[in-house]
């Protein structure tokens, strides 16, 4: 009953200075909303990175050649033979191998021309390893590769650009003077950053080598591990096989680099984590400033109401009742501010912010609310204590 009374006193006190209370609450509101929203943006960008990497295929490994710094001999480029060595090696963790060459060019269909983001020459195993699924038509086959047939699978963006509504399957496009028959269209993966993974033409490796790149080196070799757990094992096997093939004895002098999506994922995740922590820190500071605003306003309130405190004390209000009244008032400020802040944060998170779709972390909502309320209690306790410690005789004399 006394608790209920306290809440009523507190509401009365806040209502007495509506503008002041509202502005103080605004401070907490902004703090809480900032914490929720900025953490959601950080989290959103990390989710986006994770998604785009998962889209690449989680158990795929990429082998690319690397020039060692300070190495006297030039790196031996990766070749189709390296891919063959990997495919034929006794390596249980390696499921499939696809050498990849990439080039660029302009594709023509009738009088429409479009330059796809990349033209890839590879083996059919590439599709599964790179997590490329067909939407319409079919993949090209190993037979197409063996016979260097002029066929191609195109990405969804390329299909829209060239065919604009027509069914591309079975149609002929001309790239750099070489005609290709489209056998299939890939599913849309969605853009992740600057390059569009859907603007692509994928053709059999020998065809592309024949038409554009020549039969020298390949850009990379895409290896699929038998499972996501065996990627590390597969990585070791690749290193072993390729070191043998390149006749290198010292593993530190390897002229190739094996990267897996997990390591990429971890690297990117730690970047976004730093980003999120920074954003969170900025938001936390604004929450702290909101808390100091509460202290400030409560100190003013206590000074203003010294006489009222004196009256209450003369009427026999125990110290705890005065302490409780002002603590309730400051906590009420922070609770209302934090509640509105949560609402504002959740509302703001529904919009795309600087190209990132915010993903609200539920813990951040609960945490920000709880911290704001705790701040109200903590920052309110100093003014409340001052109020409670006033001697009734001094408080009554106060003008």
């Amino acid at each position: 009953m006394i608790a209920w009374q306290m809440i009523r006193f507190a509401f009365g006190g806040l209502a007495a200075n509506k503008v002041r209370s509202a502005l103080t609450m605004l401070g907490v509101l902004i703090g809480v909303a900032a914490v929720i929203l900025l953490l959601a943006v950080g989290n959103g960008s990390s989710v986006a990175v994770k998604n785009s990497i998962t889209a690449l295929g989680t158990n795929s490994l990429t082998v690319s050649s690397s020039n060692l710094r300070g190495s006297a001999t030039a790196a031996k480029p990766l070749t189709v033979n390296d891919a063959k060595a990997l495919a034929e090696a006794q390596a249980p963790a390696i499921k499939s191998v696809a050498p990849v060459v990439t080039t660029s060019g302009t594709a023509l269909y009738g009088d429409i021309s479009h330059a796809p983001g990349s033209i890839v020459g590879t083996y059919p195993a590439y599709f599964e390893t790179a997590n490329q699924k067909i939407a319409k038509g079919d993949y090209f086959s190993n037979d197409d590769v063996l016979n260097s047939r002029k066929v191609a699978v195109i990405g969804s963006t390329t299909a829209t650009q060239l065919f604009a509504g027509e069914d591309p399957v079975g149609k002929r496009i001309v790239i750099g003077g070489t005609p290709f028959t489209v056998t299939g269209v890939l599913q849309t993966k969605g853009s992740s950053g600057f390059n569009d993974p859907d603007d692509v033409v994928i053709a059999p490796l020998p065809t592309v080598q024949n038409a554009f790149t020549g039969f020298g080196s390949v850009n990379q070799i895409l290896v699929q591990a038998s499972s996501a757990e065996s990627t590390t094992e597969a990585q070791a096997e690749i290193s072993r096989v390729l070191l043998g093939a390149h006749a290198i004895t010292d593993p530190t002098k390897a002229d190739f680099r094996v990267s897996n999506q997990t390591s990429l994922l971890t690297a990117r995740e730690s970047t976004t984590k730093t980003f999120t922590v920074l954003l969170g820190a900025v938001a936390a500071i604004s929450l702290l400033v909101g808390g100091i605003g509460i202290t400030n306003i409560m100190l003013v309130t206590v000074t203003e109401r010294t006489r009222e405190i004196g009256i209450r004390k003369a009427l026999g209000a125990p110290r705890a009742a005065i302490l409780g009244q002002f603590l309730t008032e400051s906590t009420l400020l922070s609770v209302l501010g934090a509640g509105l802040g949560v609402a504002a944060g959740l509302f703001g998170a529904r919009f795309t912010i600087v190209g990132i779709t915010p993903v609200v972390i539920p813990e951040s909502v609960v945490g920000a609310f709880a911290i704001a309320v705790a701040i109200g209690l903590f920052f309110g306790s100093y003014p409340a204590n001052r109020a409670a410690a006033l001697r009734p005789i001094d408080a009554l004399r106060h003008e």
């Binding site: 009365g12 009222e308 004196g310 004390k313 009427l315 026999g316 209000a317 110290r319 009554l396």
Partner: protein
């Protein structure tokens, strides 16, 4: 008057402010044989109506603060309703103020933005009285001062006389051992003064002990006993016939 022990017993109570040469004896009583102050000793019986008079600086405010347990004496003993309040801590003092003393101030001292009913309920709320009981007693007290119809009004909607009557209702609602009025009519016109004093007299007639501090003779005339303070000591203590 009665066989009961006095409700207020002051024994050699003195109050000093400051140290050394700057010491001010706000309440000193008569000087002892060696010239040191002996402190004020005073008994007030239950049901009495005492007016304490004196010019400013005579120590009447200090006396009032000590009687009201708002301040503690530097030396001496103060027994209120049989309890020695000299050694109570703040928590216990607030309890004493709540249960045993009803304050009426010169400047009314109502809590702002609070209805008359809530004002009167306030001491009961601090005493932990249940809501329904609180309401009943508060309404009865307002009835007593003739303001039952103003229960829902806030201080700024009441006249000075009405505000002081609300303060009287608030002071008597806990049925305290003593009503302590500090210049209750100092801020009132003569009509309101009369109203408030009539209520106070009525309360005294039903057995309430009243200590009234004033510097107005016409107010003091209505008391049964008049104590005059001069320079922190009792100069005269006169019992007078009740003039109605």
């Amino acid at each position: 008057m009665t066989s009961k022990p006095p409700v207020i017993q002051l024994r050699s109570v003195a109050k000093r402010y400051g140290h050394g040469d700057a010491t001010v004896h706000a309440l000193r009583g008569p000087d002892g044989p060696d010239g040191s102050p002996l402190g004020v000793s005073l008994d007030i019986d239950e049901g009495d109506f005492v007016a304490v008079m004196g010019s400013s600086g005579s120590g009447k405010s200090t006396l009032m603060n000590i009687l009201g347990c708002l301040d503690v004496p530097t030396s001496g003993r103060y027994l209120l309703d049989g309890t020695d309040v000299g050694h109570l801590d703040e928590q216990q003092l607030s309890l004493v103020r709540n249960r045993k003393i009803g304050f009426i101030f010169q400047s009314f001292n109502l809590v702002p933005r609070t209805t008359a009913l809530a004002q009167v309920e306030l001491p009961l709320a601090y005493a932990g009285v249940r809501s329904a009981e609180r309401r009943r007693r508060a309404l009865a007290a307002l009835e007593r001062v003739g303001l039952a119809d103003r229960a829902g009004h806030k201080p700024n909607e009441l006249s000075g006389g009405q505000q002081q009557r609300v303060a009287v209702a608030r002071a008597l609602v806990t049925a305290p051992a003593m009503l302590l009025a500090d210049e209750p009519t100092g801020n009132l016109d003569s009509r309101s003064t009369d109203e408030v004093l009539t209520i106070i007299e009525g309360l005294n007639r039903t057995g309430r002990t009243i200590v009234l501090i004033t510097h107005e003779d016409e107010v003091a005339e209505r008391a049964r006993r008049v104590i005059r303070l001069v320079d922190g000591a009792v100069a005269s203590d006169v019992r007078q016939g009740v003039s109605v």
